[in-house]
């Protein structure tokens, strides 16, 4: 019997020890204001997180040069980062609880997993600003605490179809999509809808399981319908292996997607042959900083490229602007700790100074209309042999149709 009680005591000691160090610092009213950022720094979405972190760092440094005043005192911003390991439901939720309960953080930027955070937000509501997720149907109706600082996928997918029909003469298109991946499922529905409005036929829609490594069945089904073009529906890390096997299977026609692949990722994932695999490849998403007409975006792009030696994706602009948006909201709310006041202020601020994304102001110059801040969208094409992208079409959309498209001249020819 002695051993059993001995073991119970050891278990008790360990529990008690971890309970003792439960107390956490959290007060936020010093001059440095702490906010949170939960990003996918590893896992299948790891092509997105690191770039966001780089941009957030640049944004915070730019903001802290002048600082911002709240309650009569000049404040600077500090971001506490957490990696959700592309699995919001496990590591993301834990990080959210750590920030809200232990670190008492009032506002958080995040990338994916909106629906998994909703239950926790019901228990302890705080404003969460999404700087990435444009999956369809939108995340905003999941909870009043969620804000989105980018155009949702309905604002750019129509551009793919419009450009394909007008410039590539596409009459039928096959879609290869990742089953169960939220972004992919939204895109697939939108492509079908936009194809209908543009008069392009959907030749075939083929699925592959997210965990699979051999896509020959999906590729076979998609190509059997003899399409003029193929649309790959999901995020970069998922579609590039499919693109490689698609080219290996002998398909040479145009490939369209909305994953925001940059040249560095293409080379890392596709290997030495990346240039030939990426030939005849078109991406429709938010405007890219490098090809944007907005001067602030262009100078940010050059600074980012110089500092991180990496091609800036569209999400870098929105991540860069997050600190400015938070600072503006805190100043309006005149509080750095009260989540409710900050959330209310977010809906009342205009487009803040120092932002680079070229936000399209709503009526009354407000940044957020219906908790959504929008930018223009763009179709970009791969420059063969130049390891870069060129702008093929800049456009905006109104209820699902492309409006005032602009076709810049071909910079990589």
């Amino acid at each position: 019997m002695r051993s059993r009680s001995a073991a119970a005591l050891t278990a008790a000691a360990v529990f008690a020890a971890s309970a003792a160090c439960g107390a956490q610092s959290g007060a936020n009213d010093g001059d440095t204001v702490k906010v949170g950022a939960i990003l996918s720094l590893s896992g299948i979405y790891s092509t997105l997180g690191p770039a966001q972190k780089n941009a957030l760092t640049m944004g915070v440094e730019a903001l802290n040069k002048t600082g911002f005043t709240v309650g009569g005192r000049k404040r600077t911003l500090e971001i506490s980062y957490a990696d959700d390991r592309s699995d919001a439901a496990t590591t993301g939720v834990t990080a959210l609880r750590e920030m809200v309960q232990a670190q008492k953080i009032p506002v958080i930027a995040y990338g994916l997993g909106s629906d998994t955070y909703v239950p926790q937000l019901k228990r302890q509501p705080i404003p969460m600003v999404n700087i990435l997720d444009s999956s369809y149907p939108g995340i905003l109706d999941l909870s009043q605490n969620l804000f989105l600082t980018r155009g949702a996928s309905p604002t750019y997918v129509p551009g793919c179809l419009h450009y394909a029909k007008r410039n590539l003469g596409t009459k039928s298109i096959s879609v290869i999509t990742a089953k169960g991946e939220p972004y992919a499922e939204g895109l697939t529905q939108l492509v079908a809808k936009s194809a209908q409005t543009e008069g392009v036929a959907i030749a075939a829609t083929a699925e592959f399981p997210l965990s699979s490594t051999d896509y020959s069945n999906a590729i076979g089904a998609a190509l059997a319908a003899k399409p003029d073009a193929v649309y790959l529906s999901s995020v970069t890390a998922v579609i590039l292996p499919v693109l490689k096997q698609l080219r290996q299977s002998g398909y040479t026609g145009p490939v369209i997607h909305s994953s925001g692949v940059n040249p560095d990722q293409a080379e890392a994932i596709l290997g030495a042959q990346f240039d030939s695999i990426m030939k005849d490849n078109y991406d429709c998403a938010g405007t890219l900083p490098t090809t944007s007409a907005n001067p602030a975006a262009k100078s940010f792009a050059e600074a980012y490229q110089a500092r991180f030696n990496e091609y800036p994706q569209d999400l870098t602009m929105w991540a860069h602007d997050f600190p400015f948006i938070v600072a503006a909201a805190m100043t309006k709310a005149d509080s750095v700790t009260d989540p409710e006041k900050i959330q209310k202020a977010l809906s009342e601020i205009t487009v803040p100074e120092g932002t680079v994304s070229g936000w399209l102001p709503g009526d009354g110059g407000l940044l957020f209309t219906g908790r959504n801040a929008r930018t223009a969208s763009e179709v970009t094409a791969w420059c063969a042999g130049k390891r870069t992208l060129r702008s093929a079409m800049v456009f905006d959309t109104r209820d699902g149709a492309v409006v005032d498209p602009v076709f810049p001249e071909d910079t990589c020819a």
């Binding site: 059993r4 439901a89 998994t116 239950p119």
Partner: protein
């Protein structure tokens, strides 16, 4: 009665400690406390089929996930929390019955590999039946119990689970299970209905795991397939072995070591897992009947030295 007192005493003590840990700790540490408590409840069930019966069931993470998902789906369909919980546990026990039936004629490595594959297929269902399970990124769980009620239920379940295990362990069912573990054929020739006893043990273990899944879903608010993979089944199997399969407190020690190590020791991607790997091998080689087995051996050696000195 004295023998029961210390076992039931420790169970009650652990319930109190679980409550303190769950309410006292916040953020990351709160998550560690949650996982340790939930795993303890699940491993107590595994302790019946693996600890007593010696059958290496690798299906445990599937039962754990099944409980969580089924309760979430039933809640979404509008059932009340208690009904959803009871129906989920009962349904998963039925699944456990079917799994045990399918693998009833296999033993040892075959049973382990067969049940491991069951978990792999269950993972596929969790990942691909997106309209119910929300697909690979998981799904939110409606909050049937309040947070406080969930915490109380978790704490009580730890103690109650261990007490039930103790009663099973000293009952004829426990004797029969241990006989199967020692020599199944001899046990059958001494009158033990081995097929029926194994079936019941798997069903009981599935019930524990499902209940742990229901409570985990209620506390965490969200569940995802990555928490119920065959590697998780493996980790549960080895956690119990580390603790000292068959002993009352093996689930507590096993959960503390495995969860504590993977969550607290994050020195960078992978390092905590490497340390866990080394620990598994060390304990398996040095203390074949786990940490608790090692402690008992040590105390017995110390006592013998005192007697000699």
């Amino acid at each position: 009665m004295r023998k029961h007192a210390s076992a039931l005493g420790s169970s009650a003590l652990l319930s109190v400690l679980a409550y303190l840990a769950l309410t006292g700790l916040q953020g990351d540490q709160g998550q560690v406390a949650l996982l340790v408590v939930v795993w303890t409840i699940a491993l107590t069930g595994l302790n019946v089929i693996l600890g007593l019966g010696g059958y290496p069931s690798m299906a445990h993470a599937a039962f754990f996930g099944g409980g969580a998902y089924l309760s979430a789906i039933l809640l979404e369909k509008g059932l009340s929390m208690t009904v959803a919980a009871v129906v989920s546990v009962a349904a998963i026990m039925l699944v456990g019955f079917l799994v045990a039936l399918v693998f009833s004629r296999t033993r040892g490595q075959y049973f382990a590999i067969g049940t491991m594959f069951f978990t792999a297929v269950a993972f596929l269902v969790f990942t691909n039946a997106a309209e119910f399970t929300g697909g690979p990124t998981g799904r939110p769980v409606d909050l049937g119990y309040s947070l406080d009620a969930t915490v109380v239920l978790l704490a009580v379940s730890v103690g109650a689970g261990l007490a039930v295990f103790h009663l099973i362990s000293v009952s004829r069912f426990g004797d029969r299970l241990r006989a199967i573990r020692e020599d199944e054929d001899l046990a059958q020739h001494l009158g033990v209905p081995t097929a029926r006893v194994k079936l019941l043990a798997v069903v009981v273990s599935a019930g524990f795991a499902a209940w742990a899944g229901v409570l985990f879903g209620q506390y965490n608010g969200v569940i995802a397939p990555s928490q119920f993979t065959f590697v998780q089944s493996f980790l549960m199997f080895v956690a119990l072995g580390l603790g000292g399969a068959g002993r009352l407190l093996a689930p507590v020690v096993g959960a503390l070591v495995v969860i504590g190590l993977t969550q607290l020791l994050n020195l960078g991607p992978g390092v905590s897992q490497i340390v866990l790997g080394v620990l598994f091998i060390a304990v398996t080689l040095l203390a074949p009947n786990g940490i608790l087995g090692g402690i008992t051996a040590l105390t017995r050696k110390v006592r013998r030295k005192e007697a000699v000195a």
